[in-house]
């Protein structure tokens, strides 16, 4: 993997981390808000949705990092062997 490719790979990972955290948290809050409006319990489900969304985002980020970094670390070894 050349430098530009490595930079692209890391950029892909970091941008995915940011956007996954954003989307999951936003989705959790919106879902919580929708439930709160239905059952008139604002802000209980919004807070629950925020925490759940952020937790799910954290889980996704953990999986991303472990899988992606394992692949990125593997790449130089492969190049050395070839």
């Amino acid at each position: 993997m050349n430098d530009l490719g490595r930079a692209g790979a890391y950029l892909a990972l970091f941008s995915e981390i940011a956007i996954v955290l954003l989307v999951t948290t936003l989705f959790g809050v919106l879902l919580g808000y929708w439930i709160d409006e239905r059952v008139n319990t604002l802000p209980i489900f919004v807070v629950a949705g925020l925490l759940l969304g952020f937790g799910a985002g954290g889980l996704a980020v953990k999986r991303l990092i472990t899988r992606f970094l394992a692949s990125f670390d593997r790449a130089p070894d492969q190049n050395d062997r070839s």
């Binding site: 692209g8 892909a12 995915e16 989307v23 899988r67 394992a70 593997r74 070894d77």
Partner: protein, 374 residues
């Protein structure tokens, strides 16, 4: 060891003791030939910068000329009133704020008026789809032209095509390992299509004519691309592991071996992971669309306000950013596919041992010499 061969002492510069290149040349070749040799060696060692500078200046001049030509051939128009008088700078700025909804080029369902919503499911051919067809035609034509008359010993055209394809293929396999070889064609296709789609928005006449618009600046196109990738990595996951094996990655009952609480927690985490799969197409599509759309607007507004000079630098930046966005989308689609075909246990073993099971030898894709993939 004599003084002449010994290394210079610490603190003294080697240049002080050792003869210069010119002196060594003179002693070896004589005074007349040495001067010519020094000049020749200097030219070889440092190629003239004048040629590179000239090319860069020529490139900038071409871009400026294209912008001037674009300004006269496809003059900007006021978005709200295309036929009305053009007022600078108000209309120059407004003209570049393209509506998020694409313009309908061909309405296949005349009974219903075309929708002006951001996300549509109309039977219409909008400007972004029309432009994406042109991009596809360009890619197909280029590949056909470059691959005409393929030989065992490649010529210049064949070399260019093989360089691009093998470079991308080598990058994909170095990133995803041997499992990525199977997905090199789709990786290259995603990359080339998105790259040319992104770059098409930088052409002066794209966006200034209603029928043309960069495909990836329309969210409907990026969602379509993300859905293709989404279907691909799940279908490949099921194909590689089977329906049971693939669903078992998310809903595993192995946690119950360590007690009911662990089992329930494992099921809950698996359920969350399953839901997170549906976040992937959202992140893929929104990142690509947001970057390309925002870049186009920024470039258009700056071009409208500061004619010619600053946009050239901005254009260079956009070329690089659009390249990176195409690369990011392709990398993520590839990595998600590799993750989908990986067994959950394999992944954990990999992670714990941190020693991947890789075959020895060359990891480059095995392409028959003299062949290219279209």
């Amino acid at each position: 060891m004599t003084d002449e061969t010994s290394r210079p002492e610490r603190g003294t510069s080697p240049q002080d003791d050792e003869p210069t290149a010119k002196e060594r040349m003179r002693s070896a070749l004589g005074p007349e030939m040495a001067s010519d040799a020094v000049v020749a060696a200097g030219e070889v060692a440092s190629p003239p910068r004048r040629g590179v500078r000239g090319k860069v200046l020529l490139g900038i001049a071409v871009i400026v000329a294209l912008q001037v030509a674009g300004l006269f051939l496809f003059p900007p128009f006021a978005g709200d009133d295309p036929d009305g008088p053009f007022e600078f700078p108000r209309d120059a700025i407004n003209a570049n704020f393209e509506l998020p909804a694409p313009v309908v080029v061909l309405d296949l369902d005349a009974s219903q008026p075309p929708s002006d919503q951001l996300l549509t499911f109309d039977l219409t051919i909008p400007s972004s789809i029309f432009t994406s067809w042109i991009v596809m035609l360009v890619i197909i034509a280029l590949v056909i032209l470059l691959s005409l008359g393929i030989r065992q010993v490649p010529g210049k055209r064949q070399n260019a095509l093989e360089y691009v394809y093998e470079g991308l293929a080598g990058f994909a396999t170095s990133l995803g390992g041997p499992a990525a070889r199977r997905y090199v064609p789709i990786f290259v296709t995603f990359f080339l299509f998105i790259l040319l789609s992104n770059w098409s928005g930088l052409l002066p006449f794209v966006g200034r004519t209603l029928e043309l618009r960069a495909p990836t600046s329309d969210v409907n196109v990026t969602i379509g691309l993300a859905l293709v990738a989404f279907v691909m990595f799940h279908v490949e996951g099921v194909r590689a592991l089977g329906v049971r094996g693939y669903l078992g990655k998310f809903f595993s009952l192995k946690g119950f071996k360590e007690g009911p609480v662990n089992g329930v927690i494992a099921l809950f985490v698996g359920f969350l992971e399953f839901l997170l799969e549906f976040v992937k197409p959202v992140t893929l599509s929104m990142r690509l669309w947001g970057n390309v759309y925002a870049g186009e607007i920024a470039l258009g507004v700056i071009s409208a306000l500061t004619i010619f000079v600053i946009p050239v630098a901005m254009l260079g930046l956009e070329v690089l950013l659009n390249f990176m966005q195409a690369l990011i989308f392709s990398i993520l689609a590839l990595m998600f596919t590799i993750a989908a075909i990986e067994r959950h246990d394999d992944h954990e073993e990999h992670h714990e041992a941190h020693e991947p099971e890789m075959p020895e030898g060359n990891i480059e894709p095995e392409l028959p010499r003299g062949t290219v993939a279209a």
